[in-house]
Every structure is written in C-alpha cells, then in structure tokens.
C-alpha cells in the first residue's frame, strides 16, 4: 500500500537533509581519503623496508654519478656549488645509514657511499667554499679560517664512513679534518667558527661538533672536551630561550643575527643525534612544540615562530606557503624516525607523498619533484637511525 503523499515542507526538509548528507560525505572524504591515499609507502620507510630503501638508494646513486654543477641553476654560483656538495653529502649520509641498518646491503651501500664521498671531496665539490675563502678547504687545514660548513658536513659523512668501517681509505683524511675542526672550535669564541668570512651559522657548527664526536665513537674513544663545550654554548647562546629553537645565524660577537627557524633547528637536531641525543631531542621537541602542525592529517612545519612577521622564504627554507617550510618538514622527518615518533613521521610523510610525488621508474624509487638534492636529502632523512645506532657496544 502506498504511504500518504508528502507535503512540500517534507519534500524541502528531505532535500535539505540529503544535500547535507552529501556535503558531509564531501567533508568526510576531504578529511579521510587524501590522508589514506598519501600514506602509501609510509610503513615501508618507517620499518626500513629493504627493497624500498634500495630502490631509493639506486635513484640517489644515479644522481650522484651524473652530478654536474650545471644541473643546478639557483642564479648564484655559490648556491649552485652548495647544492652540488649537499647532494653528494646527503647521499653519503643515506648510504652510511643504510649500511648500518641493512648489513645485507652493506657492500653495495658502501660502494655508493664512497662514490658520493669522492664527489664531496672533489675539486668541484669544494669549489663553492674555496671561492668564498679564496683558499682550498682541504689544502688549508693548518690555517685558521673556519670553512665551517664544508669541513663540518664533509667530515660528518667521513665519520659515518669511519664508524661503519674504521679502516677505510678515508680514515686518514677524517683524522686530519677532525683535528683541524677540534682546534678551530676550541679557539673560536663560543666555540663557533665561520662558514664563510663574517658568516656564522650554528647549524654548521653542530655538524662540525657531531663529526668530531662520531669519529671518536668510531674509534671507541670519548668525544674530546670541545664537543661538550660547543653543546653548552649552543644551549646558552644559540638557542632562543623563548622557543627553544636554534638561531639561524649569529654575528661575529655570537649574538643572534637571524630569527630562530625551523629549517636550521631540524637539521641541527639531525646532526646532533650523532653526538648528543639529549641536545638533539631538545631541538626536535622545540620544533614540534613551536612550529609543527597538522592539516587534515598532513604534517606541516612552519619556518618561523608565530609573530615573526611575514616571510616568503630564502635559500635555506625554500618558498614558504602559509609560512610552511619544505626544508623544515624534510629535515624534521629524520627527528621523528630517530626518536621513534611514528605519528609525526606518518603525518610528515603524507605531505611528502602529496607534493613529492613518489614514483617508480626503471626499478628506481624517486620523488618526482625532488630532483637530485631533494631526493638525496629525503633519502638521508628517511634512513636516519636512532642515536643508539652510533654507539659502540
């Protein structure tokens, strides 16, 4: 039997209800579907899936062998050189970490790491620093100029190599650079040396200090006193007391010359995990507390703390959209993995999936929008190891 006919009010109410349900479905889909779609691959990288790591490593290795400074076109000769160097350095870190995490891939990873280290140490790899200082960083190890970024980053990769295999062909150079950095850090005000003439970046010094500490650990020794002295100075002078974040730059008097920022804090937290787990965790927590957020399940990290004004980004942060920094997000991934925070790793990885476009081509795994530098950095961050990995039993 048919029911009674509906009134126009009933029809209108029903229509509104159905429209409301459709809109609710739209909102639910917006909140739930993208995060699920972009979660593919998270578990593989979180658990260090061998095939996935190997496939990404193959892509990064190819970038290193094809590395050519002309591929970068930042508009600045120095930045082009930095990106060339950074690609090789981050690749070396990723392969060193892979060798530690996957003993079965050790031989392949170390061969690729050595090729990356050769690129780091090549004349082209050190040209950006040599031009800035008007002297070669490796030919002037007995001198007094800082060369903080080149020597710090290169030596950290060399120390990782040393830790994985103490007797490699890079051991002697690792010893020489470590001795140089130890001497320069000890002599410098607040134990922070210049990256370029007149330019001092705490994050670069974090790499230098970490490289010294890790080399000592590789040899079963205690880190030299200057490492603790630098970390003390970092806590007292280079970290913003309000936010706990690292100042991006300091002046010649070692006073803040730039805001506390996400990219520098996240990268320093990664570097310090090789030297001092506590200091690394402090920076990582400050980053999460002050700058991290989530939009529909996608992790985001701001470059500047709230109230720091409007910024559009620079070479360190990349272009800022709504104040979010792709660099801080990328470096921040490592902290989540190092400190075992799966939730933040998953959220940040979703954002990288969305904008990085992971894809597989010819057996290689690559983030399509990353290019050589982006893929090398993400490789190093996704394979970052817990601090305990870098301790001798």
């Amino acid at each position: 039997m048919p029911g009674p006919p509906w009134t126009s009010k009933e029809v209108m109410g029903r229509t509104l209800l159905l429209r409301g349900l459709a809109v609710a479905a739209l909102i639910a889909a917006f909140l739930l579907v993208p995060r699920q779609l972009c979660q593919a691959g998270t578990d593989a990288f979180w658990t260090g899936d061998r095939d996935r790591v190997q496939a990404l490593g193959a892509n990064v290795s190819r970038h290193v062998t094809e590395l050519d400074a002309r591929r970068f076109s930042t508009g600045s000769r120095r930045f082009d050189g930095e990106w060339h160097f950074g690609t090789a350095m981050m690749a070396a870190m990723g392969f060193g970490q892979t060798a530690r995490e996957h003993p079965e891939l050790r031989a392949e990873a170390l061969a690729r790491m050595d090729a990356a280290l050769d690129a780091v140490l090549s004349p082209r790899g050190r040209a950006f620093d040599a031009e800035a200082w008007d002297e070669d960083p490796l030919a002037s190890l007995d001198g007094s100029h800082g060369h903080g970024a080149y020597l710090g980053y290169a030596n950290l990769a060399l120390s990782v190599r040393r830790f994985v295999e103490p007797g490699s062909r890079f051991a002697a150079l690792n010893d020489r650079i470590s001795a140089t950095l130890e001497r320069r850090l000890a002599a410098a005000e607040a134990h922070a040396i210049e990256t370029y003439p007149g330019e001092i970046y705490p994050v670069d010094n974090a790499a230098a200090a970490a490289s010294i500490a890790l080399r000592a650990r590789a040899l079963g020794q205690a880190p030299p006193p200057v490492v603790g002295q630098f970390i003390g100075a970092l806590r007292e002078r280079f970290v913003d007391p309000k936010t706990g974040l690292l100042f991006q730059a300091v002046d010649r008097d070692r006073r803040a010359a730039d805001a506390p920022r996400g990219s520098g804090s996240a990268l320093a937290a990664y570097f310090l995990s090789f030297a001092d787990e506590g200091a690394a965790l402090e920076l990582h927590r400050a980053l999460r507390r002050e700058l991290a957020g989530s939009v529909a399940g996608f992790g985001v990290v701001r470059e500047y703390p709230p109230g720091a004004g409007t910024h559009f980004g620079d070479i360190d942060s990349g272009p800022l959209v709504f104040g979010w920094s792709i660099s801080a997000m990328g470096f921040g991934l490592s902290g989540c993995r190092i400190h075992g925070e799966r939730g933040c790793f998953t959220e940040l990885y979703r954002a990288f999936h969305l904008f990085g476009a992971p894809t597989r081509i010819d057996g290689e795994h690559t983030f399509a929008s990353g290019g050589p530098l982006g893929n090398a950095i993400v490789f190093a961050m996704l394979t970052a190891q817990p601090a305990a990995t870098w301790r001798r039993p």
Partner: protein, 106 residues
Amino acid sequence: MRRLAQVSVAVLLAHAALLAVAARWSFAAALLSPGPHSGLPALAFGLAFVGLRLVVFVALPACWAFSLVSAGFAALEARRASPTDGAGPMLSAPVSGSEVADGESR
C-alpha cells in the same frame, strides 16, 4: 557523474604526463630558489604540478564522494517515487489554509 568521470580521466592523464616529465626533469631547483633568477617555465611547471596533485589527491576524491552520495540518494528517491514501488509519492498534497499545491499560482 558522467561529466565528473570524464574530468577525472582527463585529470589523471594530465597528472601521469606531468609525473613522467617531473621524474626526468629537475624543476625543483627553480621551485626551491626564490627570486627573479628562478626559471619561469620551471616555476610554472612546478605550480601546475603541485596544483594537479592537489586536484588528484584532495579535490577529486571529495567530488566523487559528494557525487556518489548525491546520486545514491537521488536513486533512492526515484525508487520511493515510483508508483509500483510501494513508497510514498513525491508529490505535495494540497493542504488547508493559505498554502497552495506545488505548481499552482495563487
């Protein structure tokens, strides 16, 4: 639905094409390099790429959810309105007072 399906196919094809190009051409240098030195074509490509990713992973699923739910309810309503189906007719009955039936003028 049909139009949405056509748009979806077109978007997915465009996305696949951009993905293939992006994997072989490093436009990240231009994207990550703020300032006038950035290559405009690369920047435009990067923005299009990011925009299309947002459409594929965020907008399309939401549109499909809205569309499917709407279509599902419309089908249910049509079934209810069918005289052979036993449900109440989708008609407004004349009521008392000043109200008039749908479709009639005062």
